[in-house]
């Protein structure tokens, strides 16, 4: 008796074929109550479906307001049967309800890690063959049946099934129901307690509807659930109540957010989805000749890309697709056949244009929209609140800011922008330092809000539902996938700027792990500057510099041990790469001015100089760095120079040494007479042939000096005749004309108001 009043429509989630049959079935049934598999938590926002600004694809987001990371998305496309059912019920003002187990019961005991699976269950469409058989049958039972019938796509099979029957009515669903009943008896029963609870809850709602005396109850649910919801096969009320008893409950809220076909599609990180949303939309929109319609769109797309495609191509491609389908014993060409035909005819066998077809016509680029007055998703709401709190409104035009990081408000604004950047929402970009303002506490930003950021925020929602939490989540995600140490340290730099203490903690651990197993000194060196910067700015930004210093300690130790080994037997190119890293790491380490680092660092540099096997370029550089930091006395440096330039040394090695030693430091040569005489003596001692040989190298070195330095050096050579007897600072101080100098003294004394000097 109850069976006559309850009509179960087992559908395929996001299936246009299902959607069409369902619409016909609902029309002919004219139910007085519509029950849909979906979260009852969303009831308050359901009415907005009929809002004229509501454009699928959209998603329902159900989340816990106290802990917004715990959330589930329920995407809908225009062709989703649930969407059609909702619209049908709401527009006719028939009581329409979601009857699935409320998320307020499901979001309770789950760990945040299970979020993904949570989303999966509401998206049961992926015909992914890798999944276990039983799992597959639950996710896409129709796909499984379609495959058994020799179809590549459950949708086409469904269409064929529906269209081959004249009566587009309820008996299709009866057939599905029977098939599912058979399938469920064949397969072992599900041992997932959540699954049982969901079905028990749906049954209890159907019972309630029966009790309310509705006469024609339409139940729309995933085909898999259909057999379990038939009243005559219901288990006892007590049994269902037992399953549902004692479930804790939390408060949940629901919101709509715009969705994209890309996110709806399979490969976007939300677990299961629809493989080809744009293709499904076409199936939904065109009842007939889908293949022709699709091929016409392919041709238009190709013409847009300036690839010749005539109507004849379209005709031939459709014919080929039809022949292929016939060869494969399929009644109509599916996406597979059309794809192959397009490749053979429209693209002339070239696979490259197929990527465009895939992006535009298979997956699609459609972006949904929600009414302006709709409640916002938590991440958006959090951002809006932050913007309000910081008096930092989102504006469409370009705006420049100069933040003084000593002010808490500016500091927080900067952190907000950095966090958004981490979330791939590039609202602000750091602008180059403008003139005038100096000091590390200034930060320059340029902001411009773009509407697409709304979608990016939704995308970022999967990392967390507040800006800070999401930024942290994304950091952790990036850290997990980072390939090199340098990537990690750069990320750490960002995380510090964005003030994400937990993110910094993970990154620290990750960097520690990575550095411990990494023996590439070059990579370790590359990591130093970012870390040092982080440690230095830490104080201004109130981040934990101690933590970073701890990592740097470990790094410096490893570098100090590995550096001498890493600098030997290098090719000239690798030596140049190493030189660059040395030059970057050295000032970074010096800026930290921690004596223990510097000691280890300089010891390593000394070892570099002393080892014969070190590449001469790096040897020279290390000598220079030590000399500039005054870690060695001048006599020692002079000895090194002499040693490197001794006649027995190969000329090319000597020139490389000089290059490493002198590049960028002409001043040193100008003021240190001893050095000057050694270098100058070496150059003068070269034979004519050897001089020509080394000239390019020397020129390269000297060209790095400032023009003034070069001029002075030139003068020095002229006056000193190029030999060891160059003029020195001492001698110049002696050659004063004392008499002439004395004449000025009285005048100076007068100016200073000093009694005249005797």
């Amino acid at each position: 008796m109850a069976d006559d009043r309850v009509h179960i429509f087992g559908i395929r989630h996001h299936g246009p074929g299902s959607a069409r049959s369902l619409e016909h079935a609902l029309e002919s049934l004219a139910p007085d109550c519509v029950l849909i598999e979906g979260p009852p938590d969303a009831e308050p926002v359901l009415a907005q479906i009929l809002h004229e600004q509501m454009q699928p694809p959209v998603a329902l987001l159900v989340y816990r307001p106290d802990e917004p990371q715990r959330a589930a998305f329920f995407p809908f496309a225009e062709f989703s049967p649930e969407w059609r059912a909702l619209r049908y019920g709401l527009s006719r003002e028939i009581p329409t309800q979601f009857i699935d187990l409320p998320q307020s019961r499901q979001l309770v005991d789950e760990q945040p890690e299970q979020l993904a699976t949570d989303v999966d269950t509401n998206d049961e469409v992926a015909p992914d063959k890798q999944l276990a058989d039983r799992d597959l049958s639950r996710r896409d039972p129709l796909g499984l049946l379609a495959e058994a019938a020799g179809f590549s796509d459950g949708e086409r099979w469904w269409d064929w099934l529906v269209e081959s029957r004249e009566a587009r009515s309820i008996d299709v669903f009866t057939a599905i129901h029977e098939a599912m009943t058979a399938l469920r008896t064949e397969l072992p029963p599900s041992d997932d307690p959540r699954e049982e609870r969901r079905e028990a809850h749906m049954r209890s709602r159907i019972r309630a509807a029966l009790k309310d005396n509705f006469q024609r109850i339409a139940v729309v649910c995933g085909a898999w659930h259909a057999p379990a919801l038939t009243p005559s096969r219901f288990p006892s009320v007590a049994q269902d109540n037992a399953v549902l008893a004692g479930l804790p409950k939390v408060k949940t809220e629901a919101a709509w957010c715009p969705w994209t076909y890309d996110r709806l599609s399979f490969g976007s990180g939300y677990g299961a989805g629809v493989v080809s949303p744009a293709w499904y939309e076409l199936i939904w929109k065109c009842e007939e000749q889908v293949g022709t319609q699709w091929m016409i769109r392919v041709a238009r797309l190709m013409r847009e890309r300036e690839l010749d495609t005539s109507s004849a191509h379209v005709i031939e491609a459709v014919r080929l697709a039809e022949t292929l389908a016939a060869m494969r014993n399929r009644p109509q060409p599916g996406l597979e056949e059309l794809d192959e035909a397009a490749l053979a005819i429209v693209c002339g066998g070239e696979p490259a244009p197929m990527a465009v077809i895939r992006r535009r016509l298979v997956i699609g680029e459609k972006l949904g929209a929600i009414p302006e007055d709709a409640p916002l998703a938590p991440l958006q709401r959090d951002l809006a609140a932050e913007q309000k709190r910081l008096r930092f409104p989102a504006q469409a035009q370009v705006k420049k800011h100069d933040f003084d990081l000593r002010k808490p408000m500016d500091l927080e604004r900067s952190q907000l922008l950095h966090r958004l950047n981490l979330l791939n929402v590039p609202w602000g970009t750091t602008a180059p330092r403008s003139h005038g303002a100096k000091g590390t506490f200034h930060e320059f930003w340029q902001t411009e809000w773009e509407p697409e950021f709304a979608v990016k925020l939704i995308e970022a929602s999967r990392f967390g539902n507040t800006v800070a939490a999401a930024a942290e989540g994304r950091t952790a995600d990036l850290a997990k996938n980072a390939e090199s140490l340098a990537e990690l340290t750069l990320l750490l730099d960002h995380a510090l700027l964005a003030n994400l203490p937990r993110g910094v903690e993970w990154l620290t651990a990750a960097i520690q792990d990575r550095a411990a197993t990494n023996c590439d000194v070059l990579q370790l060196l590359a990591a130093v500057p970012a870390l040092a910067r982080a440690a230095r700015y830490g104080n201004v930004r109130q981040t934990d510099a101690e933590l970073v210093l701890h990592i740097v300690t470990g790094l410096v130790e490893r570098i100090a041990i590995g550096l001498p080994g890493a600098c030997q037997s290098l090719s000239d190119d690798s030596a140049a790469a190493m030189l660059l890293q040395l030059d970057h790491a050295h000032p970074a380490l010096q800026s930290l001015s921690v004596e223990s680092f510097l000691e280890a660092w300089f010891a390593a540099l000394t070892a570099l100089v002393e080892r014969d096997a070190t590449h001469p370029l790096l040897q020279g550089r290390a000598a220079n760095l030590l000399h500039a930091a005054q870690r060695v006395d001048a006599a020692e440096v002079a000895r090194w120079v002499q040693l490197a330039l001794s006649p027995a040394a190969p000329r090319s090695a000597a020139a490389a040494w000089v290059e490493g030693f002198l590049t960028g430091s002409g001043m040193m040569l100008l003021h240190d007479q001893k050095l000057w005489s050694i270098v100058s003596g070496w150059v003068a001692g070269l034979s004519a042939e050897a001089f020509v040989e080394t000239l390019p190298l020397l020129r390269r070195t000297f060209s790095t000096f400032a023009p003034a330095e070069r001029r002075n050096l030139g003068e020095l050579v002229q006056r000193g005749g190029g030999g060891a007897s160059a003029l020195s600072t001492e001698s110049s101080s002696i050659r004063f004309n004392h008499q002439r100098a004395q004449r000025v003294l009285p005048q100076i004394a007068k100016l200073l108001g000093h009694p005249p000097i005797q």
């Binding site: 191509h313 031939e316 022949t323 016939a326 053979a344 066998g349």
Partner: protein
């Protein structure tokens, strides 16, 4: 006008030659002769709809090419090992009366596939035009028997039909090899034949109309130098199927082993077919040099100037096997393949020799069980 004397001599020669009986002495049999048993086994069980004038249904043609076991118990050997969809597209193309263009680098079984398609569809793979830079219009349309032409004037008797014209009249598949080598103006004679399915003979004010079942399979090399690109009018009349190099070592090794076995039987070579491991090693060398990196993707390599196709692997293995049988102990040893291997890889004496030497020193030498091969190859250099 071609000098008459030449034609006379041709005709005389043709008459003087004794009629060739199809005996076992032919060096290489046509596909339809060699696999006659398989074709008739397929025809027996094939109850699906056949396009007009086809000997088999598209399904049976696909089975003939890709291999399988029939309900009657007959086993069909696979002729093409690779992507099933490509073959399906090719057959579907021929069934839609569109012409088929098989593209690919040398040695990707283009000609092989075209021969077997023709053999399976119309039982005759001999209606062949070999495209060269010197292919003239007569080769595609028709020529004249000048003696008759002079004696009786233009008539059907004096007309010498090309393979394409014969295929049209009999409703069979014509094959055009190396289409892009044919000069562009000659290529374009195909346009009318393919779109209108007719061949006008203005000399007789007649035309030859294609019988049902006629179609053309053309092959072309898409990496050749000095080719004549197809005009877009002609291109539009072909469905293009690109045949790729084999996807994996396993697939390629299977292809090589199968072909070497078949060739050995046809050429009556003594000795055993080399073990699959030995073949896999040679295939690996070719693949690595072809792709410019080692199979594990860890080491980059220089690639040689040759195309290093599967066909060349087959010839290396076959010649190695022959060497082993005649001059060795019948077992394929490293020394037997070293010289032909080197010859196949080193096409440019300077550049390729460097590539090959580098490969030997950096890759072959490092692999534990490749030592004999390394030594043998070093000796040949």
């Amino acid at each position: 006008m071609i000098p008459l004397s030449l034609n006379w001599s041709l005709i005389v020669k043709a008459k003087a030659a004794p009629a060739m009986e199809p005996t076992v002495t032919v060096q290489r049999q046509h596909a339809e002769t060699q696999y006659a048993a398989e074709l008739s086994a397929l025809a027996e069980v094939d109850d699906r709809q056949r396009p007009p004038n086809w000997k088999l249904s598209p399904w049976a043609v696909a089975t003939y090419l890709l291999g399988g076991k029939l309900d009657s118990g007959a086993v069909i050997t696979p002729k093409y090992i690779g992507n099933r969809r490509l073959i399906e597209i090719a057959i579907a193309t021929l069934a839609t009366d569109r012409a088929l263009l098989l593209l690919g680098v040398p040695g990707t079984a283009k000609t092989w596939v075209s021969e077997h398609l023709a053999a399976a569809i119309c039982g005759d793979s001999t209606l062949l035009v070999q495209g060269t830079a010197g292919t003239a219009e007569e080769a595609i349309r028709y020529g004249w028997n000048y003696a008759l032409l002079l004696a009786k004037g233009p008539s059907r008797d004096a007309l010498v039909p090309s393979p394409v014209m014969r295929a049209m009249q009999q409703g069979q598949i014509a094959r055009v090899e190396e289409l892009t080598r044919i000069p562009a103006d000659v290529q374009d004679t195909l346009i009318t034949i393919l779109s209108e399915k007719t061949l006008p003979i203005p000399e007789l004010s007649e035309e030859a109309q294609a019988a049902k079942g006629f179609n053309v399979i053309a092959t072309a090399n898409n990496r050749d130098k000095g080719v004549n690109e197809l005009s877009s009018a002609l291109k539009r009349r072909f469905n293009t199927v690109v045949l790729p190099s084999p996807a994996s070592v396993e697939e390629e090794a299977t292809i090589v082993q199968q072909r070497v076995t078949a060739l050995g039987r046809a050429l009556e070579l003594p000795g055993d077919v080399p073990a699959i491991d030995e073949i896999r090693r040679i295939v690996t060398i070719f693949r690595e040099l072809r792709e410019g990196k080692t199979e594990d993707g860890k080491t980059k390599l220089k690639s040689s100037s040759g195309t290093l196709s599967t066909a060349e692997v087959i010839s290396v293995v076959t010649s190695g096997r022959t060497l082993a049988a005649h001059f060795g102990d019948g077992q394929l040893k490293a020394g037997d393949i070293a010289s032909s291997l080197t010859g196949a890889i080193v096409k440019d004496p300077v550049q390729d020799a460097l590539v090959w030497k580098e490969y030997l020193e950096t890759v072959v030498k490092e692999r534990a069980d490749w030592k004999p091969l390394y030594r043998a190859c070093r000796d040949t250099m």
